[in-house]
């Protein structure tokens, strides 16, 4: 009997569906609350809504005769009334929505019938289905107070005027028509003349009625306009520069401080837990609160001046947080941020330190390594994974520094990227450029995370 070598039968690896099913809620969550808003936000930065207005061949038709960009100066050639399509509410206020066919008494005494715009008539009585039947002529306000209301032969302002009514005249409303004025306009785009019909709600006609501009388009398109606007913004360079300067000043200092603090904790001195608690206090403070506290220290009547004055180092209170002493504002921000955020890095490093086995450290001690040699050749290399995490986290947060800068500097003299995002959104109401700024912060965060992942490699990765 020959002995057959054991052969493990080939098993077709069954794709395991269970794990994917289990994480599908998480994927759904990511999609709805992360991916979708992110793509919309990025879209805001590169998409210009209502950028182009399509001109039609005839009023109310769909066939296009060209397109004009939003903001183009136009000449008005003709106008016409078109029944308003149901459900159209886009764009600005349309010209002359509804006309009523009314009958009433003129100031002269005779009865006339004709069309008058709905905006001039206040409906006083409607029938069971809500159709207006009686009304009064509205009085005029402001600079045209006292003028009479003209009555036309057809629902068109250019049609013949058959008479006029004084304010508050009672009229009977026979029927109504909903119309929108369309204009035949002509404008230039890419050095070519285009003309066609466009609805009044998309246009802004100036007082003379012969010129105007395209107010809003009806199609959007990809554009670099918002990104260009961000790059040409007067604050862009200084915001970018200040953010990077703060990063370069803050992060190395925090790293060193955090490692020292973590080693102190790891040394398990007496009152170890007290040190940990004190080191971790800034974790609980919001960055705005920290900014306010440090601004009360650096303000002219603040604690810093009081201490320096009482020590005799200065003769009179110095002003630090002013436009003429911008470097001091940066120093104050640097100190406040180092104070506030080091504990975050420390906590990560402490957890990394605990992962280093005691035997390795004891072996190093046995071989006669000094403290400095132990730190440099044993602890730091083994800490690399947590240093990587701490650096990525801290850098991403440093790119978002905001409240401390505003509390200490007011936001105009010293500005950072997050403040510019806020200014574009809140003060300038420009969502698109604000999205461009926040997209830039996102991009810089991803790049820096990528750099750290490549350069700060752990022991095992470097070897393999």
């Amino acid at each position: 009997m020959s002995i057959q070598p054991l052969r493990t039968p080939k098993r077709r690896t069954k794709t395991q569906w269970a794990p994917y099913l289990l994480i599908s809620p998480a994927l759904l969550y990511l999609l709805v609350f992360f991916a979708w808003p992110m793509t919309q936000a990025i879209r805001l930065a590169i998409w210009e809504e209502q950028s182009l207005l399509s001109l039609r061949i005839a009023p109310g038709e769909e066939n296009e005769a060209g397109a004009l960009e939003q903001g183009t100066r136009i000449a008005v050639l003709d106008r016409s009334n078109v029944p308003l399509a149901p459900g159209e509410a886009d764009g600005g206020p349309a010209l002359l929505d509804v006309w009523f066919f009314v009958e009433g008494e003129t100031p002269g005494g005779g009865m006339i019938q004709g069309w008058a715009p709905e905006s001039r008539i206040r409906v006083r009585e409607a029938d069971a289905s809500g159709v207006p039947v009686r009304g009064t002529i509205r009085p005029r306000l402001g600079s045209v107070a006292g003028q009479h209301t003209a009555v036309h032969a057809s629902p068109d302002e250019r049609s013949e005027v058959v008479g006029e009514f004084a304010s508050r005249t009672e009229v009977a409303i026979a029927r109504q028509k909903s119309l929108e004025v369309w204009f035949l306009i002509e404008g230039v785009r890419d050095e070519q003349r285009f003309s066609g019909w466009a609805p009044s709600r998309r246009l802004q006609i100036y007082g003379d009625g012969a010129t105007g501009r395209v107010d809003s388009g009806d199609t959007g398109r990809f554009t670099l306009l918002h990104i260009q606007r961000m790059l040409n913004d007067r604050f862009f360079r200084s915001a970018l520069g200040t953010t990077f300067l703060l990063m370069l000043l803050i992060i190395p200092v925090q790293l060193v401080l955090a490692i020292v603090m973590a080693l102190v904790i790891q040394a398990r001195l007496k009152f170890n837990l007290l040190f940990l608690a004190i080191f971790a206090i800034p974790l609980a403070a919001s960055d705005l609160a920290v900014g306010i506290v440090w601004s009360s220290i650096f303000t002219q009547n603040g604690y810093l001046n009081s201490i320096l004055y009482s020590l005799g180092l200065i003769e009179s209170p110095q002003a630090y947080l002013t436009a003429a002493t911008r470097h001091w504002i940066l120093v104050a921000v640097w100190i406040a941020e180092v104070w506030r955020a080091t504990s975050l890095v420390m906590v990560i490093v402490v957890s990394g330190l605990q992962a280093i086995s005691q035997e390795v450290l004891e072996a190093a001690e046995l071989f006669g390594a000094t403290l400095w040699q132990r730190v440099r050749y044993v602890i730091l290399p083994l800490l690399k994974p947590s240093l990587q995490v701490a650096l990525i986290l801290r850098t991403i947060l440093a790119l978002q520094v905001f409240a401390v800068v505003i509390a200490l500097g007011g936001g105009d003299v010293v500005t950072v990227l997050a403040n510019e995002t806020y200014r574009q959104y809140y003060a300038l109401r420009n969502m698109n450029t604000a999205a461009a700024y926040s997209g830039l912060i996102l991009l810089l965060s991803m790049i820096s995370a990528g750099i750290y992942l490549r350069t700060v490699r752990g022991q095992e990765e470097a070897v393999s």
Partner: protein, 435 residues
């Protein structure tokens, strides 16, 4: 003109604010069910007082001083066709973006009815038209303005022959210089981190040049900035770049003379009425430029109960309610016939200055920009840039004014905004005149 309603933002805004408003509305529903969203009376102290006033009418309100969320919410609700916000109380500048998206009810009939029992200031009705002839987008509710305040300790440094009620800018500069010399530190404060753009648009430019947009880069404007740099700014407290509400540095004693909105100076007058005086803004070579601020009440087209909103407007514009708001909150009435006797000292101090300013023979009312829609923030930035670049950063005045004038003209052209007071009326977009 960009639309500000995108579906996700509308969705997110609706969710977030719906949650907040649901809580406010649930509480308010105990009173009347009307959701009244106001951008005024947001500070905590003012909220308590205004709620008391509203309770008498059976109403409640939600306050948020940023109009951005309000505009987003109302726009989203209009698109959806039904909403929660009924009554909107906001500054004049909040209404044009809502007008653009047809979110406001025409209140012209309500104004006609209400005018039978009270007298609205005609100028404010005019501004409520927002450039139209037939549609009234808001009923004027209150007005405010910007005045100056001084610590009585500063009065001994007033220059010879200067009368607080009729100061000129030169006298103000001389006064600040005397204060600086006498006390050893600059004691004039300006709200650079607050409503500074109104100081520039409504007070500085009109007083020196007679215009706002039209004279933006004029010779007079260049001379004005040179004068500010040489004679005014050195005596302004440098921490003004951090000042938002001027009552704080005034009460702390950091500044002795300040310029700010009446509501932001009121806490100082209320807390220490014996220590401070209010006086009208100074006049310049072209007159006394000042900016009246109008707050209006509008009704959203998607309001669930327009009748309740109209009743609230009736209540809020009654002379009795207007007198209470004046007494307790320091916002001045927009209707005539309001009883101004027996005002608390803080408000009375300001009332004199406000009247002196508005009724001065050389007064130049400079209105808030109209017709810029949602791009109103850009004109603020342009004026701030003109000041910051020349005074704080030391750039060449002529060059900066030319560059910012180009931005200003482009803004006017792109929005098509016609000229508003103090500039002369224009046909078409407002024009920045060449130097």
């Amino acid at each position: 003109m960009r639309k500000h309603v995108k579906r996700t933002r509308a969705f997110a805004a609706l969710l977030a604010l719906g949650a907040i408003l649901w809580c406010g509305a649930a509480f308010a529903a105990g009173l009347s069910g009307l959701v009244f969203f106001s951008t005024q009376f947001a500070p905590v102290e003012e909220q308590a007082k205004f709620r008391e006033i509203l309770k008498d009418g059976g109403f409640d309100y939600t306050a948020d001083s940023n109009d951005g969320p309000l505009i987003d919410l109302v726009t989203a609700e209009t698109r959806a066709g039904k909403g929660t916000v009924g009554l909107i109380g906001a500054l004049h500048g909040t209404f044009p973006p809502l007008q653009r998206v047809n979110a406001l009810m025409n209140l012209i009939d309500l104004a006609e009815d209400l005018s039978e029992s009270r007298e609205f200031a005609p100028a404010f009705m005019q501004t409520g038209l927002l450039g139209s002839e037939d549609a009234l987008y808001y009923i004027p509710w209150m007005q405010a303005t910007y005045v100056m305040a001084a610590n009585k300790k500063a009065l001994e440094y007033l220059p010879e022959g200067a009368d607080l009620k009729t100061l000129t800018w030169q006298q103000l500069a001389d006064w600040s210089k005397a204060l600086h010399k006498g006390e050893g530190k600059p004691l004039l404060g300006l709200p650079h981190a607050g409503l500074f753009q109104r100081f520039l648009q409504g007070y500085l430019w009109p007083s020196f040049t007679g215009g706002m947009v039209s004279k933006f880069r004029s010779k007079e404007a260049v001379a004005m900035l040179e004068w500010v740099k040489a004679e005014l700014w050195p005596h302004v407290h440098p921490e003004s770049i951090n000042y938002n509400l001027m009552h704080e540095p005034l009460l702390k004693g950091d500044v002795w003379v300040a310029f700010d909105h009446t509501a932001r100076l009121l806490p100082a007058f209320n807390e220490k009425p014996d220590d401070f005086v209010a006086f009208p803004a100074p006049s310049g070579p072209a007159g006394l430029g000042f900016m009246p601020v109008i707050v209006g009440l509008g009704i959203s087209k998607a309001a669930p109960d327009a009748e309740a909103a109209k009743q609230a407007i009736d209540f809020l514009t009654k002379p009795g309610t207007q007198a209470r708001i004046l007494r307790e909150l320091g916002f001045f009435p927009a209707v005539g016939g309001v009883d101004t006797s027996d005002l608390p000292r803080g408000v009375a101090i300001q009332m004199e200055a406000v009247n002196a300013q508005a009724n001065a023979a050389n007064a130049i009312p400079a209105l808030l920009p109209v017709g810029l829609g949602s791009r109103g923030g850009e004109i603020n930035q342009i004026f701030r840039n003109a000041f910051d670049r020349t005074i704080l950063n030391g750039e060449d005045i002529g060059k900066v004014l030319e560059e910012e004038a180009a931005n200003l003209q482009r803004l006017m052209d792109e929005t098509g905004a016609p000229a508003w007071p103090p500039d002369p009326a224009s046909d078409g977009p407002s024009k920045v005149l060449p130097r």
